[in-house]
């Protein structure tokens, strides 16, 4: 499932997480539609330079852990017509916080 990373990552596959609902100027790679939504960690991709810093000619360090985070479509859009369907987004660790008991994985 997940790949081993050299330094400890905060989350592991299966952990329930919520995307922070924040905004700030600059180059953000967490899409608007997923902010504030809750899902679960599907994979741990490892560490990458932070695009928010790279976009301004800085070195992107320290690296951030990148996760594949899965969400039920019904939790993101509020519809229940396709209960099995999911949307998965590549999200950096600093955008995620632990959530307990929110959303349900099918």
């Amino acid at each position: 499932m997940g790949r081993a990373v050299n330094s400890p990552s905060k989350f592991k596959p299966g952990d329930r997480v919520t995307v922070k609902f924040e905004d700030r100027p600059g180059h953000l790679r967490t899409p608007w539609y997923i902010r504030g939504k809750s899902g679960w960690i599907e994979r741990v991709y490892g560490q990458f330079r932070n695009p928010e810093s790279l976009a301004f000619g800085r070195d992107g360090l320290p690296k951030k852990t990148l996760y594949l985070v899965a969400f039920n479509q019904s939790d993101v859009w509020g519809r229940t017509s396709e209960p099995k369907d999911k949307v998965l987004v590549d999200i950096y660790e600093h955008w995620l916080e632990s959530s307990v008991g929110e959303g349900t994985s099918s």
Partner: protein
């Protein structure tokens, strides 16, 4: 909080997907190649180009074609990094336009 004009996942009002394709014009191939060459030489990063497109005027973002947006962001980043000035581009373009002329 405002949503960036590029951050459009889930924005309502989108129509059918136009599946037609166009073969690239010379200028589009050139834009693609210049972009990649600048990256390969370490002059700019893809992240900087994305940020430049996000900083564009929102109406221009929607009105311009894909490669026009690329060229606008190439220009913006090269100027920001003081590699080229807008005036130099304007002057060089004026030379070209004299050469290209009008029938």
């Amino acid at each position: 909080m405002t949503r960036g004009h590029h951050d459009i996942g889930g924005v309502p009002g989108a129509g059918p997907i136009d599946q037609s394709e166009h073969s690239l014009s010379d200028w589009e191939i050139l834009a693609d190649a210049v972009n990649q060459a600048l990256g390969a030489r370490g002059v700019k990063r893809t992240d900087e180009m994305r940020r430049a497109r996000e900083e564009m005027d929102s109406t221009a973002y929607r009105d311009m074609t894909y490669y026009e947006r690329w060229i606008a962001s190439i220009e913006a980043i090269l100027i920001e990094k003081k590699i080229i000035t807008k005036e130099e581009i304007d002057r060089k373009l004026a030379e070209f336009e004299t050469k290209w002329g009008e029938p």
